[in-house]
């Protein structure tokens, strides 16, 4: 059996994702246990340079014009061959817009077991164990990593991206892509995020609202509080999907990652899709009526009161404090 751990590197427009480095770190932990090597699989078009700082023992680089953009179809067909030929102990994908299009399809197609939402891989008496984060971050599920080849979809949080960067370029091996001229999935154009609105990734004080805001009328309370604090309002997915805030204000997986001096999370439960983007903030303060909300595990200070009651009172007290200063 091949003890190697493969990592499918995620990149777009010349940029390797942070999660790819997290996966390389996870792969190293797993490879130490299996006695195998870490192999980074990089599918790209003129993207060989991206291999340079990947902390892998070997990079398998497959060049094809179809990899200039992300096409699920192109990735599925190419990786199918790679996995069939090499049967590594595990293949790591992101639990993301890219990995999500590929890993579960391959699991079904190749009859290989799949573990998703995986946060850490660890060795226990020679066996590999997975720990996955489910139920909006409220539960962890642990078990043996199934064999002989497990496909794994990783979420951030278990390893630091720094651990996946290498100082020296790894060995590079070239592979060949199958015929990819009749793709069923092709990118036609990119729509850039709207500019002109505030950039929440650069703001120092963020008043972030979640489902607890309840309806659009209440957004004004958050606006007033943000104004008093000299900050801006951001939101989690449910608020954006309801159309209560512009998509530019989305903090989370599909939105922006933030590093605020103060991140005031109001009525946000703290699902992993949101919290993965706020960890670099200096101070997180969370207000939520649910004592079991995972956001309290990340926050420095918390309170279990109703945000609709708190916001106007807090805005007023902030105004008063500023008046006295």
């Amino acid at each position: 059996m091949n003890p190697d751990i493969f990592v499918v590197v995620e990149h777009l427009r010349g940029q390797v994702s942070d999660l790819s480095y997290v996966m390389l770190a996870a792969a190293r932990a797993a490879a130490n246990a299996t006695g195998g090597k870490v192999v980074a699989v990089l599918l790209g078009h003129d993207a060989e340079a991206l291999a340079r700082d990947l902390a892998a023992d070997r990079v398998l680089y497959i060049e094809h014009a179809a990899f200039a953009d992300f096409s699920s179809d192109a990735y599925q067909r190419t990786l199918e061959n790679v996995i069939k030929e090499q049967s590594p102990r595990a293949v790591l994908f992101g639990d993301t817009t890219m990995g999500g299009d590929v890993a579960a399809w391959l699991s079904t197609h190749l009859n290989l077991p799949l573990v998703s939402a995986c946060r850490t891989l660890r060795a226990d008496a020679g066996a590999l164990k997975f720990v996955s984060q489910i139920c909006g971050g409220k539960m962890m599920a642990e078990g043996d990593l199934p064999g002989p080849t497990a496909l794994v979809m990783m979420v951030p949080g278990g390893y630091k991206p720094d651990q996946g960067h290498a100082a020296q370029p790894p060995e590079l091996v070239r592979g060949t892509a199958p015929a990819l001229d009749d793709l069923r999935v092709t990118v036609k154009e990119y729509i850039e995020p709207a500019v002109g609105d505030v950039d929440v990734s650069k703001e120092q004080v963020l008043v972030a609202i979640g489902r607890g805001i309840q309806n659009q009328d209440n957004v004004e309370l958050a606006e007033e509080l943000a104004k008093a604090l000299g900050g801006v309002v951001a939101g989690s997915r449910p608020v954006i999907d309801q159309g209560w805030l512009a998509p530019t204000r989305l903090v989370g997986k599909s939105g922006k990652a933030v590093k605020a001096k103060l991140y005031l999370a109001l009525g946000i439960s703290g699902a992993p899709e949101h919290t993965e983007a706020i960890g670099d903030s200096e101070m997180i303060v969370a207000i939520n009526t649910d004592p079991a909300a995972p956001i309290f595990d990340l926050a420095k200070f918390g309170a279990q009161v109703d945000i609709l009651d708190l916001m106007p009172v807090l805005a007023e007290k902030v105004q008063q404090a500023k008046g006295l200063a």
Partner: protein, 254 residues
């Protein structure tokens, strides 16, 4: 065009989650199920396409507790056919098993476009959509937040991090994993759902035998260790606000 929306029920996270005596699963007695939120978006997207003249919307669901409510609500919003697959579901099964059974049934409907939630919060073996696509020999694209039908294909807006969207062309037939419908899921008053119960019909079909291979076995379920849990501020709203102002000052925000 036949638009199919496979949906499933998931634990309602508003309720307290209780781990059962085995330590490896949620206590079914203490569990309340609700429709997967992203499936609600998939239903909305399908109905929006129908309203633009796309065709008929069929909802397919495993026969889990409270599924009738979810199905009738979909009908009240505009779904045409409601289908319930009966079988030994308990409080849910893994997606590998669900995909096999669903694919087996859905292929009899001659599907052209399948819309389903891109994920569910309790997925532990990948999402349903890409597995359905493989079984049915269809293309799959997920994280979609907008769909336009064209001749023989769809244009789907695929989300990437940082707010970037890739306008992606997908050949039909296809499965799309929906992250968000173009518009927020519409609200239907309970009175309209009640009226629908009197007129709409749920068709039931027996599901094939469940085959769960492909998913990992959970040995232990646990709540995340509260590492550096937040210092909780006690007292009423006034006391909390006063303390927060002090904290903001100490931190140099005020």
């Amino acid at each position: 065009m036949n638009l199919i929306v496979p949906i499933k029920m998931v634990p309602d996270l508003v309720e307290e989650l209780v781990i059962d005596a085995s330590g490896a699963q949620l206590d079914p007695e203490a569990l309340r199920l609700k429709l997967n939120e992203l499936d609600e978006h998939a239903i909305e997207q399908a109905i929006l396409l129908k309203e633009k003249g796309a065709g008929q919307v069929t909802i397919v669901a495993p026969d889990l507790p409270d599924i009738d409510d979810a199905l009738f609500t979909a009908a009240a919003k505009g779904a045409d056919r409601l289908i319930k697959l009966t079988g030994n579901w308990g409080n849910g099964v893994n997606n590998h098993a669900l995909a096999r059974v669903m694919a087996n049934f859905i292929k009899t409907l001659r599907p052209e476009l399948i819309l389903t939630g891109v994920q569910a919060h309790n997925d532990l073996d990948g999402a349903l959509g890409p597995q359905l696509a493989e079984h049915l020999g269809m293309a799959y694209v997920g994280y979609i937040s907008g769909v336009t039908l064209a001749n023989g294909h769809v244009r789907a807006r695929k989300e990437f991090p940082g707010g970037l969207i890739a306008e992606t062309q997908v050949q039909l037939p296809a499965v799309l994993g929906i992250q968000a419908a173009e518009k927020p899921p519409r609200y239907v008053p309970i009175s309209k759902v009640r009226a629908t119960i009197k007129t709409a019909q749920i068709e039931t079909f027996p599901a094939a035998e469940l085959e769960t291979a492909g998913a990992p076995l959970v040995v232990r379920l646990f709540q995340p260790e509260a590492g550096a849990r937040a210092t909780m501020l006690e007292g009423d709203v006034d006391a909390v606000a006063t303390r927060l102002v002090e904290i903001f000052k100490e931190h140099g925000v005020l």
